[in-house]
């Protein structure tokens, strides 16, 4: 009886320890993987057409969802912000609210989340399936390095696309905010843009957003290619890897966003 309890406890402890060491060694592998990607990047850039193709798949094909989401987020932000600002008689500052929240936070974060679920999952599934069907091994047999031929272009395609998508999200969000605020509610056009321009600075507000979106681009792309490369070569393995990509990159985006915002606010308010 007591040996059963002991055995059970030991099994739980063993599983816990296994999960921890497994997670840490996966993290180590991911770090090594990032170094390997950077190492192989010159080859990917020399054949830039491969990277172009990935920018097309992860950037251009994400355009519609990014632009529409940005528009709707901006419209909702404008509507909600107006309701609150109206109570303080500050409804003309709506432009500031919409622009600052989009440029600093919502643009990079929402674009990052959408990018992770739209493009990151596709990258993971593609690489995972290539591994399952042994295309990656076949490449190695033909002395083609899959890191340079498959992984690095996808990584850089994501890193390049992400800041552009975030900027487009913010721009369309502000346009959506303008549509609702000025066209629908009837805030003065000059006050909307003028207040916004007086309160938003290129440095640091907009540059902070660009830095954030670049970091998210690196994080999401790395997680996507890593999960695909590390996927178990089975149907379930690929599906689990795709799910993990979306979950881990979403969490990574939100956590990184918090950390970066802390540093950026500290740098801003001397």
């Amino acid at each position: 009886m007591s040996s059963d309890v002991l055995n059970g406890t030991a099994r739980i402890l063993r599983r816990l320890g296994g999960a921890v060491t497994g997670g840490i060694s996966r993290l180590g592998f991911a770090a090594r993987f990032l170094v390997a990607i950077v190492w192989h990047s010159p080859q990917a850039f020399r054949r830039f057409r491969l990277t172009m193709r990935e920018i097309y798949f992860s950037g251009v094909l994400s355009l519609v969802i990014i632009l529409l989401s940005g528009l709707f987020v901006g419209m909702v932000l404008s509507l909600q912000g107006y309701e609150t600002l109206k109570r303080y008689g500050a409804d003309e500052q709506l432009g500031i609210l919409v622009a600052l929240s989009l440029v600093r936070e919502l643009g990079p974060v929402m674009a990052g989340l959408l990018f992770a679920s739209r493009a990151g999952s596709a990258i993971t599934a593609e690489i995972g399936l290539m591994k399952t069907t042994e295309q990656l091994s076949a490449m190695e047999m033909m002395a083609v390095d899959p890191l340079a031929r498959v992984i690095a272009p996808r990584f850089w395609g994501g890193v390049i696309s992400m800041p552009l998508l975030a900027a487009l999200f913010s721009a369309f969000g502000i346009f959506g905010g303008y549509l609702v605020g000025v066209r629908l509610i009837g805030i003065d056009n000059g006050a909307f843009w003028g207040q916004m321009q007086a309160a938003v600075d290129f440095w640091p507000d907009i540059t902070d957003g660009i830095i954030k979106s670049l970091v998210f681009g690196v994080a999401v792309s790395l997680i996507a290619v890593f999960e695909g490369y590390d996927a178990k070569p089975t149907a379930e393995g690929v599906s689990a890897a795709t799910t993990r990509t979306v979950v881990i990159s979403s969490l990574a985006i939100l956590a990184l966003d918090f950390v970066m915002t802390v540093f950026m606010f500290r740098a801003g308010n001397v």
């Binding site: 057409r49 172009m52 193709r53 920018i55 097309y56 950037g59 251009v60 355009l63 303080y88 500050a90 622009a99 440029v103 696309s161 800041p163 552009l164 998508l165 900027a167 487009l168 913010s170 721009a171 369309f172 502000i174 843009w193 916004m196 321009q197 007086a198 938003v200 600075d201 290129f202 440095w203 507000d205 907009i206 957003g209 660009i210 308010n269 001397v270």
Partner: protein, 159 residues
Amino acid sequence: MNRSAIDLWVGIFVAIGLGAVLFLALKVGNLLTLDRTAGYRLEASFDNIGGLKLRAPVKAAGVVVGRVEYVRLNPKTYEALVTMRIENQYEFTRDTIASINTSGLLGEVYIGLDAGGDTVMLKDGQRIAKTQSAMVMEKLISQFLFDKAAESGGGGGKK
């Protein structure tokens, strides 16, 4: 999808992406109208700067002419030393008064400059001599209460 079509689409994507950055920089963040490095510096010391923040506007007659660049405490006089960067096209007389104002009840805090009649203009790095500190709401209220108390209580005692 063939190569040239991919090139075209990626080109369009990069172009509108950079266009969005440009839109954010120019239309939203007015990068051009207030250049950070251009302009000359003026200093002013205040007893109390209230809620004045870095990059707060400096206005003359309501027009933004510069930004607050630097705020620090003078350790000898315990006054706040504010450095402003004023656009080159604007010059102010030596007897200009700098005051800390608030636009509206909840609005932003800014520095107002009122030029005087002097013919000598302030130069880069010079200090504005006449300043008016921020009005702190708590002090105003307590002043008001003390005055009221003095009126009713003190006045009643003397009678």
